[in-house]
């Protein structure tokens, strides 16, 4: 179970795995995620978005960026290996219907969860405008896939190496100010990006959905580690989310909570990279 049948690198440190998981593939809907764990004993459980699924082949696609020990270990797996534990699909699926015009804003690795949502919105009859953002051209992922869906397609890079040299909020603001404006915005990316997207759309009164990626342990509502404040109420991202009304999310608190284990995570990641470096040196010596 959970055998990796395909592996590709989408950008530096961004990996795409196609995994055999027939039950998850059958049930999964856009917006949902899985919890993965590389071994039963000491590994950590981490949430990853389901970027795509093929129920006929019984596969799901996971896209992740190597940011810590667990994603590092995942990236070391090869075709034919299995991910020991995969639980899902988790979370409430995206509410898909024909809203009219929807702007889909994706930043960095957030483009991965955005893609199936944009696809479903397009299928539901929406006019889909996509704005993709990346630090630099090499880090932009799923460009072709998103371009194929979009009625209008905008790319921004921080350094201007591709598309507009701008933050995604710039074209977003222009589109909101235009007449007719969008009926809905879906923004997925780093917390800071989602915060500013929500701030941008608020004065225009455009409903804005964000998808949150917080710290989780079980992913089933049991630990509450993923809780965020939404409109003054505490919500669990794993069961109430991951999508919420961006205008109601307390992003500042969420960003602080994301930093809870920063020192620990940094330390183990460094140790893990160091060990790999040592192994490589050994292998070269042999």
């Amino acid at each position: 179970m959970n055998t990796i049948i395909d592996k590709t690198t989408l950008a530096e440190n961004v990996c795409r795995l196609t995994v055999r998981a027939p039950l998850i593939s059958e049930e999964r809907k856009p917006g949902q995620f899985v919890i993965v764990q590389t071994d039963n004993n000491f590994a950590e459980r981490i949430p990853l978005t389901i970027a795509d699924a093929d129920p006929e082949l019984g596969t799901i696609t996971l896209i992740f960026q190597v940011v810590g020990k667990t994603t590092h270990k995942l990236a070391l797996l090869e075709k034919g290996d299995a991910i020991e534990n995969v639980l899902g699909p988790l979370g409430t699926p995206t509410h898909i219907k024909n809203f009219g015009t929807v702007i889909c804003v994706g930043g960095g690795i957030g483009i991965a969860p955005l893609h199936p949502i944009a696809k479903a919105l397009k299928q539901a009859g929406n006019r889909v405008i996509t704005i993709l953002g990346a630090r630099t051209r090499e880090l932009l992922i799923l460009e072709q896939e998103m371009r194929a869906i979009a009625d209008e397609f905008i790319v921004c890079t921080d350094d201007g190496s591709y598309g507009r040299k701008a933050l995604v909020t710039e074209p977003l603001k222009e589109l909101c100010a235009a007449t007719p404006g969008p009926n809905k915005v879906v923004a997925i990316g780093p917390a800071i990006m989602m915060k500013f997207c929500a701030q941008t759309t608020r004065p225009f009164g455009v409903s804005t959905v964000v998808s949150l990626n917080t710290i989780m342990v079980d992913g089933t509502g049991m630990c509450g580690g993923c809780r965020v404040s939404v409109g003054g109420e505490t919500k669990f991202v794993c069961v109430d989310g991951p999508e919420f009304d961006g205008h109601l999310v307390d992003f500042d608190n969420m960003m602080l909570r994301l930093q809870s284990y920063k020192e620990f995570e940094h330390k183990v990641f460094e140790e893990c990279r160091l060990q790999q470096g040592i192994r490589q040196v050994h292998e070269e010596d042999e």
Binding site: L23, I24, E27, Q37, N40, N41, F42, A43, E44, R45, K69, T70, E84, N85, V86, L87, G88, P89, L90, V217, D218, T220, G221, M222, C223, G224, G225, R227, V228, S229, T234, V239, D250, D252, N253, L256, R257, Q259, S260, Y261, E263, F264, E265, V268
Partner: protein
């Protein structure tokens, strides 16, 4: 109760055993036998390891403790046990040193004696009405039924004398069990015995439910829980981990498409309650569920090997007075916190925690702030907990639960300088199955409604344990499992 060295106790028990073994004892003599405390790791030592705190009785201690039982005709202990174990009979077998007989008697009614002997709140169940305790005018001097239960269950396991229950010839009927906690384990065993095929679905990567994610190693070694799970798999029960019924597959599909003839829901009370006070989402505030899952199931205590991080705490406040609060507090101490405080709004008498856990927590240097309750959690500029604002409480008139209602005293603010707050005020039922199974009736707290036979509003679907009872105990979950299994077996036979 304060800590006494183990050797001391053993020597005393050996002498008593020699003296009394071949004597015909009068009730008065039995009443004079001193209560046998369980030997335990030294508190100073045990707060630096995860190993089980108590060692269990030696055979001599078990005999001496069993000799305290008056074998009274009324046997009120049986009525006090939620599953009605024939307690005097098993204790008599211990005095005859026939441990196989003793464990056999217990197992007629209880499936998990090694676990229940450790985690049952005996002082409010079987030991509460004990005639000896009444005669000595102290419930804490009742016969230590739980310790004796543990002793014979451990004997059976350690001697590898565990007898696999007989499994009847295959009936071709299939039963799905949702959740592998105490209720699910019980149903699985009882239904499997009748020859039905059984599949347990567990959301986590390991089976055992609260016994593996919640109750810490130092109170209930995971190897004991695993031994119970192993018995099930040896009986032919299939275990499917990483399977969240409701999400991975909907309950209805299990019935309609996957050929299950009956389903038992034992998903527990897995939704942590929060206080809904200011500052509860600051960095450093955790539910006890999260804190304990990280440290138990994910093994974050093993800082060398585990990848799951645990917050580095120096000063901790645990809100609540139940077993889970004691577990979280004592775990925090073992993880390395310098100071751990329990904050509880009533007095020690009203604390729902087992007497032994409270005593162990005190021995381990946990501070108790009674008649106090958290009002606000204050943070620093980085959004991290820096202190807990508490109010003093007084006990007023009795409330619906019969306990005197705690009333806050205005203007009595005080502050605890802490960097971590662990909220341990109970759990609500997990709403997932209800949300994905519209036909299932629940009460306003989300507990699944069942009749006396554990039948739900859905045909062929049964439920039991905390998902029905609200947060309760292992033994009550097991008791309901027994009832549900009986109903399922009856349904499948008909």
């Amino acid at each position: 109760m304060s800590h006494r060295p183990t050797d001391d106790r053993q020597t005393q028990a050996r002498q008593l055993y020699k003296e009394l073994k071949n004597k015909e004892l009068s009730n008065k003599e039995r009443m004079n036998i001193p209560l046998q405390e369980m030997p335990a790791q030294d508190p100073g030592q045990r707060i630096r390891n995860m190993r089980e705190v108590t060692y269990g009785y030696s055979p001599e201690q078990a005999w001496v403790e069993a000799a305290r039982c008056l074998q009274c005709k009324k046997a009120p202990c049986i009525a006090g046990c939620p599953v009605g174990i024939n307690i005097p009979a098993f204790i008599k077998a211990v005095t005859e040193e026939d441990y196989a007989e003793a464990i056999g008697i217990i197992k007629q009614d209880s499936l998990l004696p090694a676990i229940c002997g450790r985690v049952c709140p005996q002082e409010s169940q079987c030991q509460a009405p004990c005639t000896l305790g009444k005669a000595l005018k102290d419930v804490n001097k009742a016969v230590s039924i739980g310790r004796l239960e543990r002793f014979v269950a451990d004997w059976e396991r350690e001697q590898a004398k565990v007898v696999l229950p007989d499994v009847a010839e295959s009936t071709g009927k299939r039963v799905a069990i949702v959740g592998s906690g105490p209720a699910g384990i019980t149903v699985a065993a009882d239904v499997r015995r009748k020859g039905h095929e059984v599949v347990i679905f567990e959301a986590f990567h390991k089976a055992g439910g609260v016994m593996v994610y919640g109750i810490p190693e130092f109170r209930l070694p995971k190897a004991i829980v695993q031994a119970e799970i192993d018995i099930l798999t040896r009986m032919g029960v299939t275990l499917r981990t990483n399977f969240l019924v409701g999400r991975t597959r909907r309950l209805i599909k299990l019935l309609q498409d996957d050929g299950f003839d009956a389903i038992f829901i034992g998903t527990g009370a897995g939704l942590p309650k929060f206080m809904h006070i200011e500052g509860e989402n600051l960095v450093g505030v955790f539910s006890a569920n999260e804190y304990l899952t990280r440290t138990n199931l994910m093994k974050a205590y093993d800082k060398e090997q585990a990848h799951t991080p645990i917050f580095h705490s120096r000063r901790v406040a645990v809100l609540g007075g139940g077993n889970v609060a004691m577990d979280a507090a004592r775990m925090a101490k073992r993880i390395g916190a310098e100071e751990v405080n329990i904050v509880y709004r009533r007095t020690e008498v009203e604390m729902p925690a087992r007497v032994e856990e409270v005593a162990h927590a005190k021995e381990e240097g946990i501070n108790f702030h009674l008649l106090k309750n958290a009002q606000r959690i204050l943070g620093d500029a980085r959004g991290r907990v820096k202190s807990l604002e508490c109010l003093r409480y007084e006990l007023g008139e009795p409330d619906a639960s019969g306990r005197r209602r705690p009333v806050p005293v205005k203007g009595s603010e005080s502050y605890l300088d802490v960097d971590t707050v662990i909220v341990s005020i109970g759990n609500d039922s997990n709403p997932l199955i209800k949300q994905t199974t519209a036909e299932l009736e629940t009460n306003k707290w989300g507990n699944i409604l069942v009749d006396a036979e554990c039948k739900t509003s859905l045909d062929r679907v049964y439920a039991g344990g905390d998902i029905v009872l609200g947060a309760a105990t292992v033994i009550l979950a097991m008791g309901q499992g027994r009832t549900a299994a009986g109903t399922i077996n009856k349904q499948l036979a008909g």
